[in-house]
Each structure stands twice: as C-alpha cells, then as structure tokens.
Symmetry: C2
Subunit: 205 residues, 2 copies
DNA sequence: AAGGATAAACAACAGGGTGTTCATTTTTAG
DNA sequence: CTAAAAATGAACACCCTGTTGTTTATCCTT
C-alpha cells in the first residue's frame, strides 16, 4: 500500500466507492479491474499501486467492517454492567451496528455478497454464544446447542438480508425485537394460533 | 445441447463430475473452462459444443436438483391426505430429499455455493408457507409473517450447511426434529432454562 | 459388414483482461 | 522552490475466451 498522502487517500476512496457501486450490480468475480478503474475514474496502473487485486480490496473493506462490528459489540458484551445488557438490548445493538454499516452490509451480505464473510461473522459469535447458552440450558446437549446456534445465526442474517432488501426502512429496534421474538419463542412470536385464541396482546402495529 | 449419443452422455457426465469436483475447492467464478476440461479430460472445444459457459452448466444441474426437490415435496404438500402430512413429516421429507441430493447440495449450498440458488429455493416455499401461516396466526401482521419466514428459511439452510459440514452423519429425521423444535419453540427447544428447572424430559441422546 | 451421419479431437485465430514496466506529468510536503 | 511521491498513458507478454475449420473416431442404418 502507498502512504497517507492526500492523493493516496482520495484515490483509495474512489476505488472503494467504485467497488461498492459495482457490487450492487454483480458479484466480485464478474468485475474486472479495468471496469472498476473506469468507474472510479483512475488509471488502471494506479489500482495496482494500491492493491494486489480485487480480492485484496474487498478483504480490506470487510476487515474494517469487522472491526467496527466488534468494537460496537464489545461494550454490549462486557462483564461490567451485566444488569444493563439485556438480550434485547444486545440484539438491538447488533442490528443498529449493521444499519450503521448498511453500505458494507449490502456489499458483503447482499445478493452479490461474500458467503465466506458471512461465515466469518457467524463464527465470531459462535463460541461466546454457545458458551452462554450452555450456562443457561444445562440439560441441552452440545450438539443441540451447536445446531441451535447454526440455525439462529443464519436466521439473523436472513432477516438482515430481508431488511436490506426493503431499504432498512424499519428501525433497528423493531428488527431486533422480531429476531429476539423468534429466537425466544419460535412460532409463538406470531401470537396465539387459531383455535387456541384468547384476548390477544401482541406486539404488531 | 447435443443429441443423446452414447458419447455425448459420457462427455456430459465427465463435465458434470469435473464441475462438482472443482466446486468443492473454489467458487465457480474462479474456475476456468480450460481448467474444467483438463479435469474432465476432454477438449476445450468439446465443452462449448455442449454448454454455452460454466454458468449454463451449473444452471442445468441446479435445475435438475430443483425438479427433484419439488417432485419429492409434492406428495407432502398435496391436499389429499392432510391427516398424513404432519409438519414434522413434511420437514423430515424435505431434509431427506436434501440428503439424497447431497452432492448437488454441497455444490449449490456449500461454502462455494450459489447464493442466488439458495434464494430461489427459499422463494419457492415462501408464498405457500406465508399463506399457511396466515391461516393459523390470524392476528399476526403480514410483515411479521414475512420476517418470520425470512428467518426460519435462512435458518434451515444454515442448519443444512452445518449438517453438510459434518458429512450428514445424523439422520434426516434427527435434523428435521431440531429444525422443527427451533421453529416451533425457539430456545424452548433447548429445554428448561436454569433457575426454572424441573425433572427434565428432553429429547437429546 | 459397409457407408453416411454425427460427434469429438485438434489446431489456429482474434479479442480482451491481466499484471508489470517505463517515461512523463502532476501534486504534495518540507 | 525543490525534491519526493503519486498518477498517468503507453507498451509488453501472458493467459483465457469463444469461435471456426479440419480431421478422426464412433454411431446407426441398411
């Protein structure tokens, strides 16, 4: 990588914006360096002065998103104020962080996103969550805990994709409540089933 | 596509096997026609005699998997024997079908799989499921139903990926029970939480 | 079994993207 | 203002692509 020159920073910004733009339309593998440089309005040689290839570029951007993500999460996961961090607040914090990084989310988790990155995201939370489950559900088998995590982590990303596809019009809290509700109660989240109906108090609009 | 000649069928078999083989190692976009032909042991020109490009090849294979899938599902979804098709049996049938098509599943849903195909799979069940939900959960909003489906369909695919990564050692029924359990009860699937413990009857080994 | 038809193998081609190098111009920083 | 750093444009050999034309092998029919 080149230095912290004013021009260097601008060039890298142009490159990143071009990639974000192009990843809205097609997968990385269908994007050529030449194409990206035309969109960015820079010389092709200049690209190679900054990055080895398109994959290195995406990796850098994903890495920064990952840092943001972990940083935004750390206060929520700290041991110091266990009274403050209710499950819902943690979930809401996660979705808020995702909303703040909407562009990168689209890039990495949208239709032309990077499956490997999604897997990485999931893995970050895995141990912590499974350990946490294990403390509360002492009778569940390790296998059950792992499968539960596999399901709900993928489910959350599916939810996020849906949210993205709708332009993230709902608030982070709202989506977090949905995720929370499903993870906690399954279909129970949808309210009383027909036939077992009662004077319903539910949480929809 | 060429005719049904004996040689043609063998050639196509070789091509398909080569693609399946290569997709274990890298995404389609990183595979060249040249490479595939070397693996398949055929001439590069011969490939173009059968397929337009690698994407057409994959599409054909995915299409066949999709047909298998819908065919395996149709008896489960028919209206004729509604007493036979309990939710668990349907779910088990789905996972059994996925297990029968393990190779294609790895190809399309594994680490180097095709996000678009997963999305297509999800969309197939969407309307049917949401309509079905709507009948049972008359008080839930459309948005809740859609978000619930987005979550659990993605969750099921996440579960499938986990299952695949473990070589599908568990039975289809077992995985179906897990999926069913989570979808129905959320964390409740994991048994009684600590603090609210009672003489537990759970379903693990 | 012979012969016409079909498909595969082979070779050659232009076209386009890659990654690198070099000389040149522009911009930044001291 | 000057020297260093960065961007540019052009050129390059390389590899993959997709196509075409020719030759060889295999098939199906008679």
């Amino acid at each position: 990588m080149r230095g912290t020159d004013h021009r260097s920073r601008i060039t890298r910004l142009l490159i990143r914006r071009a990639l974000t733009e192009l990843l809205r339309q097609k997968p990385l593998q269908s994007i050529t360096v030449k194409e990206l440089c035309e969109v960015a309005g820079i010389n092709r040689g200049t690209f190679y002065a900054h990055y080895i290839d398109l994959y290195a570029l995406r990796e850098e951007m994903e890495g920064e998103m990952l840092q943001d993500f972990q940083q935004a999460l750390s206060p929520l996961l700290e041991e110091e104020q266990p009274d403050e961090r209710t499950p819902l607040k943690i979930t809401a914090g996660i979705f808020q962080c995702l909303k703040d990084n909407a562009e990168v989310c689209t890039m990495t988790l949208g239709p032309y996103g990077d499956k490997a990155f999604a897997a990485k995201l999931i893995n970050i939370g895995r141990e912590k969550c499974v350990d946490s489950y294990r403390r509360y559900f002492t009778n569940a088998s390790r296998k059950q805990l792992e499968y539960y995590y596999a399901f709900v982590s993928a489910g959350c990303i599916g939810l996020l994709e849906k949210w993205l596809s709708e332009g993230m019009t709902s608030s982070a809290e709202e989506v977090a409540e949905i995720a929370q509700g499903i993870m906690m109660s399954g279909v129970g989240f949808l309210g009383q089933a027909k036939g077992a109906e009662r004077s319903g108090d539910r949480e929809d609009a």
